[in-house]
Symmetry: C2
Subunit: 397 residues, 2 copies
């Protein structure tokens, strides 16, 4: 009897103390190391490499040429080699932000083997770290009450499939019988129902803003805006297929048409305030396009509308009743005086001009909206900031 | 008005068709490619590399020397270089399984840039793919009704913190007022509340087995067994810190002592059948140790107990009332005749001898249990298989 109690104790001790690298594959260097002054050191053990670089959005942008124009892309910095370990420290403290980066080893792009914290954006995986302070403190997991994040499947008769949602319910939802307003939060092209919680830190933003009394406790529903798909890559019956850039059913009306099925599902299965003044919809890029069309198509559904860097540009070749009589439908929507119609865009966004034209049309008609212009382009930095600005305005009527 | 509708259409079209690599960073080769005969080709574009290898559990194991003995580790195969692209095809079709792999580029371990599907196991990130068939079909996401997977926070007064759980509720839970049995499923040392859904495919196993009528619809609760931590790496107020191998509160009684707080939280917040005959507990390695101690400590709580490769080896230097009078408590537990006491281990597991001793003690006392011995060692392959075998036996009394 005694023997089985002590068998292997020495081994377990050794495991816990020494085995991390041997058995669990941890990398032998610390990277990234965030110093007290918010400079950051990146390290990679690669004795046989000829060149190691780091690329990420913490570096000054550089122009990237593509077949359809030049874009601002992440900069590149060289790591210095010493005794098998390559190293680079930022030349200045980094501003508060959630940053992403990868290494380039002899031009091969790799993630940092020392950093298990990664994010997928469409077909690209990068490492991530946070410099706290300012709005970036909303992205942190602080010691505040946490909401629940659920992956929930709903049935869509019109799309003929079960589909996956991410649903955030605020801390305290489980207890009691209180009803909550609902914020529908939509992703961009190539994104999915995971994008806003992973890249957008939506659960952290809501947890922190609710705890600070800056936002109303609310349910947040994050859909999958590609009406051809059930779910995010790796989460559907497509299995571990590569994320597809073939997105046949993203901006052709199906998603917008089916949207009441989502709202009905949420109202049926959650303790919602099922009325227009307790519903908001917003989205980034394609999700802004969807939010515009859904909110005008169902003018009694949403009192709060947010267009974040909205892709206000349907393909005229696409035929859908959703895109018919846009002016007439907008008139109906704005005649009902939405509580908030919020348009935000970066001054370097490739959709800046399209949004300017759209705003001019709204101005010409005398439709009321709130405009927010930020620096930078079509990037998650802006969308996370917009979220922290949009959420406090909701459900305050 | 018309202008804003068509602005940028060409650009969006170009984006959708061509921009994946330029803007979204997809790798330029397909990897892994699973052929119709279940051979698999791995590819890496790395023109400047001198040597590229693939390592993973689909290859024959090789001995890995560590300070505390030799272990079976994943094998290594060389990729062949042609025109900048390295390639390796398995010499034979692979058997059904969820496999993981990484590349070694001039001895630097990297994940496959062409495969966004990755899993973290403690401090190591690997790529993953599934070869279907046999029990591996349970790991796939099939077109069956899907349960909800939630990340839920509960308060632990005894541990003095809010802590994170993964909770699976079966398809149909949201509708109606049916009550469900609960299966508590525990991870191993270095794991966390994400381990069973990510590495263990627990949600897929449950979805598929419930849909096929092989398992009762049940709630599955996956805890974090390190009583010093709130949550998995990246999911607590520690932020994006590296996973720690310092695990001070894993096998010293705190987790076991606090466990009724979890059960009470679940019974209070979910529609459970709150009785012994509707509760199961099982765990792998350290989680098997926890399951053994929790089930004997609270002999009226669990009717179904599963020890998967259990680490039956407390450190005798650790003092906790949990580890006092083990024989007396086991007598109480077995006198109450648990519906199932299931012990499973691989014949190459380093805990094989400890489990043999434990079973001998149970035999000597005349305590009834079911024993399952499998091939292989202390690996997730076994734990996933055990899950598919344990779940159908639950709540059938």
């Amino acid at each position: 009897m005694k023997k089985y109690l002590i068998l292997g104790v020495a081994m377990l001790g050794a495991l816990a103390a020494n085995a991390q690298q041997a058995l669990w594959g941890a990398a032998p260097v610390v990277s990234p190391e965030i110093h007290p002054d918010n400079t950051v050191t990146f390290r990679l053990k690669a004795p046989k490499a000829d060149k190691v670089q780091v690329t990420g959005d913490f570096l000054p942008t550089q122009k990237i040429k593509t077949p359809f124009g030049e874009f601002d892309g992440p900069g590149v910095a060289d790591l210095v080699h010493k005794d098998g370990v390559w190293e680079y420290t930022t030349t200045a403290p980094l501003a508060p932000e959630l940053y992403s980066y990868t290494f380039l080893v002899d031009d091969l792009k790799i993630t940092d083997p020392s950093n298990v914290h990664q994010l997928r954006d469409v077909a690209s995986v990068t490492n991530v770290f946070i410099i706290g302070g300012d709005y970036a403190d909303y992205f942190k997991i602080n010691d505040v009450p946490h909401g629940t994040v659920s992956k929930v499947w709903y049935n869509s008769p019109s799309l003929g499939m079960n589909r996956r949602l991410t649903v955030y319910t605020p801390a305290g939802y489980e207890k009691g019988d209180k009803r909550y307003p609902v914020f529908y939060l939509l992703h961009g092209m190539g994104g999915d129902e995971n994008a806003w919680t992973e890249l957008g830190r939506a659960a952290q933003v809501l947890d922190n803003m609710i705890a600070q009394g800056k936002a109303e406790p609310m349910i947040v529903v994050m859909t999958n805006g590609n009406a051809a798909l059930q779910a995010a890559p790796g989460e559907s019956s497509l299995g571990f297929a590569a994320p597809s850039i073939q997105l046949p059913k993203t901006m052709e009306g199906s998603f917008e048409t089916h949207f009441p099925e989502v709202v009905n599902f949420i109202d049926k299965n959650y303790r919602t305030k099922a009325s227009k003044d307790s519903r908001a919809i917003a989205g980034l890029s394609m999700g802004g396009f969807h939010s515009m069309h859904i909110s005008k198509e169902y003018p009694d559904m949403f009192d709060y509308v947010g267009l974040f860097s909205a892709a206000i540009m349907p393909d005229k070749k696409v035929k859908s009743p959703i895109y018919d009589n846009i002016e007439g439908k907008l008139k109906v929507q704005f005649d009902k005086k939405p509580a908030l119609y919020w348009i935000a865009i970066g001054d370097k966004d490739f959709l800046y001009q399209a949004n300017t034209e759209y705003r001019k049309m709204l101005d010409d008609k005398g439709y009321k909206y709130v405009y927010r212009e930020s620096p930078d382009g079509h990037i998650w930095k802006n969308w996370r900031i917009y979220l922290t600005e949009f959420v406090p305005m909701l459900f305050k009527k």
